[in-house]
């Protein structure tokens, strides 16, 4: 017992200090402040070195630092899109920190973003697919909304909007078709990716609503029901929200 306590104390004292303030706040290493005095309270951080994250020894999330030029260019685009969300809305969905890095992947699969509403952080891949980059920001933000309000965005209710013959995949990466391109106006989904899971479908509807605003031309009655559902529930969270 004495030996055990001695080893425990030794381990406590040799634990190297991660004095970095950002690490203490959001548990992501190698970050620095990019911009923090924003109108809607979002704090933008960027990776100075590559980092890996994960719950256990297998740190399956990785991202790399970017050069200043890319960072400056992409920051402007990201900020322009995220400025559409008010401080009160962001507070309600638990989003405060935006981490900018490139080649973000989870289990070696590239992704546009990784939301975490416990650490109030959204990691964004600034080198993600150029064509869909801006819309993907809103898509990833919706996952923060969804994670904070699971009861509002009930997946079973959502699944009932689809045709009875349709079934989502087991997971968002189970399908080989990750195409984000807009499908034709009669489709019940905005993209092929929307067919992966109910939550990805919701995020696709939300991001199309935010990105294309009133220019959506889809005429499917299913899509119309989905849009109504998203709008209604977002307004339940914040009745001043503007689509």
């Amino acid at each position: 017992m004495i030996l055990f306590r001695a080893i425990l104390l030794f381990l406590i004292f040799i634990t190297p200090l991660k004095a970095n303030t950002i690490y203490n706040l959001i548990k992501i290493p190698n970050l620095e402040i990019y911009k923090i005095d924003t109108k809607n309270g979002l704090r933008y951080l960027y990776a100075t070195k590559p980092f890996r994250l994960g719950v256990n020894v297998k740190k399956n999330i990785s991202c790399y630092n970017s050069n200043k030029q890319t960072l400056g260019k992409k920051y402007k685009i990201i900020k322009k899109n995220l400025d559409r969300y008010s401080l009160s809305f962001l507070k309600k969905i638990n989003l405060k920190y935006i981490v900018l890095c490139e080649n973000l992947s989870i289990s070696e699969i590239n992704t546009a973003g990784i939301p975490n509403n416990i650490t109030r952080t959204l990691i964004l891949d600034i080198k993600f697919n150029k064509r869909h980059f801006e819309r993907a920001i809103h898509h990833e933000l919706f996952h923060m909304v969804n994670d904070s309000y699971k009861e509002l965005f009930n997946e079973n209710t959502w699944k009932n909007f689809n045709k009875k013959s349709f079934e989502y995949s087991q997971c968002s990466t189970c399908n080989d078709n990750w195409n984000l391109d807009l499908l034709d106006n009669s489709s019940d989904f905005f993209s092929e990716y929307a067919k992966s899971t109910a939550s990805e479908d919701m995020a696709e509807v939300f991001s199309h609503l935010l990105f294309y605003q009133n220019k959506i031309k889809n005429e499917s009655s299913i899509i119309k029901k989905k849009i109504l559902f998203i709008k209604k529930n977002i307004l339940k969270i914040d009745d001043t929200f503007k689509f």
Binding site: R5, L8, L9, I12, F13, I14, T15, P16, L17, A19, T21, I22, L25, K27, I33, I36, G41, R43, K96
Partner: protein, 214 residues
């Protein structure tokens, strides 16, 4: 008649060496070891305060640290802090977490007191009064010398532990409940024992006492 004996050159060298050694020993043992030597001890009786009812005197090894509390910014947190001060709960509490030039943390009333120090659990102790809600709405700039209530990774877990920052920390704004600011004696805190690159301090320094001015 006694003949004067002239000191040889080598004897002169040895003598000078011994004098230098003596001076070096004196400086290193007496002057350099006394970390409080050049620290000014502020006497609160000689200072006029605007809000004396919100002034706290923290006495540490090298003197007094005078803190002004801001109940208008964080009423519940200040109320809790004052309550524990009046109970003399912080007396003999360790500065258990000290990060050189950055932060100093104390107030673990369960495992961080001189009489029942538990290194294995230090930093996780509570006051027994329960947790209070984070107060993050007020405008407060986390400049050097700001005092805040510590919490776990989750919000609304503030209790008795508090920290004082030794450098500006803009990221703390809206993250930690502020309770006040050091107005005199920040240099006293800069002498508190720390271990470079480690976060828990073995054989830490202690708060001698914390009292309200009035």
């Amino acid at each position: 008649m006694i003949n004067k004996i002239k000191i040889s050159k080598s004897e002169k060298i040895i003598l000078s060496f011994l004098i230098i050694l003596g001076v070096f020993t004196f400086v290193s043992l007496i002057i350099l070891k006394n970390k409080c030597l050049f620290i000014k001890n502020h006497n609160p009786n000689n200072i006029e305060f605007n809000n004396p009812e919100n002034v706290v005197i923290l006495n540490a090894n090298c003197g007094n640290v005078i803190i002004e509390l801001y109940p208008s910014i964080s009423p519940k947190a200040v109320k809790r802090f004052k309550k524990l001060i009046k109970l003399r709960a912080y007396d003999n509490a360790a500065f258990h977490r000290v990060i050189e030039g950055k932060l100093i943390q104390a107030g673990d009333l369960e495992f961080g007191k001189k009489e029942n120090l538990d290194y294995g659990k230090m930093g996780s102790g509570k006051s027994g009064l329960g947790t209070i809600k984070s107060e993050l709405g007020g405008k407060f700039k986390y400049d050097k010398g700001s005092v805040g209530l510590a919490r776990t990774f989750e919000l609304n877990t503030e209790d008795s532990q508090f920290f004082i920052i030794l450098q500006d920390e803009p990221l703390y704004e809206g993250e930690y409940t502020p309770i006040g600011r050091v107005i005199y004696g920040l240099e006293v805190l800069e002498t508190v024992k720390f271990i470079p690159k480690f976060h828990i301090v073995p054989r830490p320094d202690f708060i001698n006492s914390i009292k309200m001015l009035n």
